[in-house]
Symmetry: D2
Subunit: 272 residues, 4 copies
């Protein structure tokens, strides 16, 4: 029984890495389906997708040690559990759920958590668990989150409007992806559309990024924009922005679940 694996490698750049890895895989009868690499001069990044009969993890550990690699063996797995955190806006949530149903993502929605009760029924109609966790007592809320999220593979903040504490993020075992409603670094923080309107920009955007303790400073996975004009009111910006937010978040979630995103400090390498 062949299995499709993904080998993700980051290390100091030096000659022979590609040859060593491809040789290693070839000797084990692997068929390399896709491979992409990137070098910044200092750092080397590799993503190899291959069909393989046996798990090569143990032996690969030795090779990895020789090259001092950070590495990870990932599997294409439609069962990856994705938790979605949301506040009141439903556009990103509903779009993600629809894409899960279309099988656009390598994963399964595990639950929806909200600090507001309004979306309970909508979520239930998709046959999904909905957890209302009030954000009034933030430490308590974050403890509850940690219980709920103990077993998930990815947390998606789909316009979740509360700031998560550094302590919580440190204890969270899964990576978290946020969607911010501006083209960062412009308009970081709250009220991005109000500030875009006030400044009179001719382009608005959205940014999906990994969540870190510093607000809106995490590694950017994807960004996109739309043109606006003086004719567009705040309500227009919000409406146009919803469409960009949905698309940008969906791409980031898709690429993450397909193990296409490698973090390079405050930046990302996205092998598309």
């Amino acid at each position: 029984m062949e299995e499709r694996i993904r080998l993700l490698i980051t290390c100091t750049d030096r000659p022979g890495i590609v040859a060593a890895v491809s040789n290693f895989l070839f000797e084990r009868g692997a068929n390399i389906v896709d491979a992409e690499q990137h070098s910044t001069g200092d750092r080397f990044f590799l993503r190899v997708e291959a069909e393989l009969e046996q798990d090569p993890s143990v032996e690969f550990g030795e090779l990895a040690q020789r090259f001092e690699m950070d590495w990870r063996l990932a599997r294409s797995n439609p069962e990856k559990r994705v938790a979605i955190l949301v506040s009141r806006y439903d556009h990103c949530l509903l779009d993600l759920l629809w894409r899960f149903e279309q099988r656009e993502f390598e994963g399964t929605p595990a639950m929806v958590i909200s600090n507001h009760p309004e979306l309970a029924e909508r979520v239930a109609s998709h046959g999904l668990a909905f957890h209302h966790v009030s954000s009034e007592d933030k430490p308590a809320a974050e403890e509850r989150f940690l219980e709920l999220l103990a077993d998930v593979d990815l947390v998606v903040l789909a316009r979740y409007m509360q700031i998560l504490s550094a302590d919580f993020l440190e204890r969270l075992t899964a990576p978290a992806i946020n969607i911010h409603h501006s083209f960062l670094p412009a308009f970081a923080g709250a009220n991005a559309y109000d500030r875009a309107l006030e400044r009179g920009v001719k382009v608005i955007g959205a940014t999906s990024h990994y969540v870190t303790a510093e607000l809106d400073e995490g590694p950017i996975i994807e960004q996109d924009v739309a043109r606006v004009s003086h004719r567009d009111s705040r309500a227009d910006l919000v409406r146009i922005g919803r469409d960009i937010e949905r698309l940008v978040l969906a791409r980031a979630v898709k690429w993450h679940l397909e193990d296409r995103v490698l973090v390079d400090g405050v930046r990302t390498v996205v092998f598309r």
Copy 2:
């Protein structure tokens, strides 16, 4: 002999403005070729393009007073004098000169001023006056600028890398348009591409705006962007950015010369 005029009006919004203006023009035998209006609720903006036999300025002054209008009567005039300030990068300069030759702009290049001598020959080959004004003694340079620019209709900063003083801008009689190499408000100030690279953005951009005393804070006329990825080096960003800068600056200059841009505080209304 019919002449094409443009009537540009800004005033507090109230009923009857359009009727009064179009009536005024109709009674004088004008043919309204184009008209665009915009209301923010408080403020009203109007641009009317019309063919007219006589200059209606004196009489229109009375109507304007009644509505407490800020107004301006502009003419389609291919002789408008445009001065271009430039430092070492030539891409915006050469692109503007080419567009003048293609008659994309309602205007004529009047001179090129640079704080570096390198582009003298290139400019001369276009049959244009070139003035080298060293930026070492900034007050002296700005005095020289004011002499040179006394008689121009528009000043274009085509990647001019020096900051102009508030005093100079106050004494400058012509409006000035700058091109900034980022999508403002992101990466205002110097080294925009270095900072874009460092932040790991997936989109870079350019912004053309009217120059005000506050650096990179003037009313935005136009912005555009291009996608980049982890593969793009600083040199790539600069190269890709050049193409956006050229386009964005050219659009702003074109629209300004066609009297399509009305300033609304820190924003613009662009009637395209």
Copy 3:
């Protein structure tokens, strides 16, 4: 009680139209909220949005006759009845329903008609009437359509995969908007994504247009595109295309319902 009206006018271009219309409105105490005009040289197009106390239709008829205008008085009306025709793909349908719920559109979904039964439950969950009309007996199906659609203001073909007969379209009283999965005129007809893949295009698109008896030849309301590459399989094109189709159709429906689209032969004038 003030009411907001929209006056839509098409006529041979000649002097005095704007003055006559704005004067007519001003004399009746109207407040012109927005006005846009367009002239092709021969033909003149005008859209005026105004607040008015009385219905000016009867009197305006006289003015219209003088200028030989095609005209229409429309009202901003959230009750406009919109019927959606769909086959098996649900992405456009669900997106439209979500936008109706978000109140993005001036209108109300009246019913969903499909030549397949699969989407019945989904539509019912939105509290909407669902009619399954088999396309096997096409004349019978079209008769049934005419009964169902007798009272609607707009028909939206949201990836409805059957060709409607010229006879049916002539008898249909409401305008119909279609979404085609290519940037027309490229890849008109069936299997647009297969043909895009085969041709190796680097950009795919979608087109929304009014339905006419000639397949995919109706006046285009909106188009948009997305980049693709050799890496994208047919499934990728379909997935990326879904997102463009949704957006392009939504814009066309929104603009039509706001009376922003005037037909100019095989083209449209879209006052946005």
Copy 4:
């Protein structure tokens, strides 16, 4: 003395290709700088950029035979000779010349050939050979072309408005890239902007492709588009189109010169 080579491989897809190639290179002390691969299932495409001390061509021939590879060893070479064919429009020509001066391209302009004399002086001012070859006697013109182009590495048709014969193309030793002023396959052939205007499209585009005997049917390298509206006249389409044509042609020429484009039947694989 290390040299940077590019190995370009196309063959039937089967296991072991990547391992064999990277092993081959590693054993010769090569440092793989970049590698990209693509598989369509049937066909396999590989581009490897590496630093190497010795020319590996002879030995690689054996490996290539084993895998029945179409292959090519290319070198990063700023001396590649590029001939530009042009008619009357100068925008693509001048843009290419400027990019050569900016060192955006791996190559050198070798000559400009035109069927019109108008651009002679402009080309001379760049220190370049200009050949006026009248297109009145087409067979004679093509004979003259073959003499002039005997020694060039790439021919760029920068809005050259004559159709080249199949016989000529067969005898031409260098590849030829054309820029077409529409998003193919829409508006193939002449008068693309007139037809775009007539059809009322909301998006116009440009396409760069390899020239083949079938007009506008060659493998597409790059495409891009711009939005237009009912306000845009034919002159506007031409002006907006010029900017897209320049960009799209420049990208295709750049990628070709960097050996990033592999032909896959009527399509291309572009490793960017």
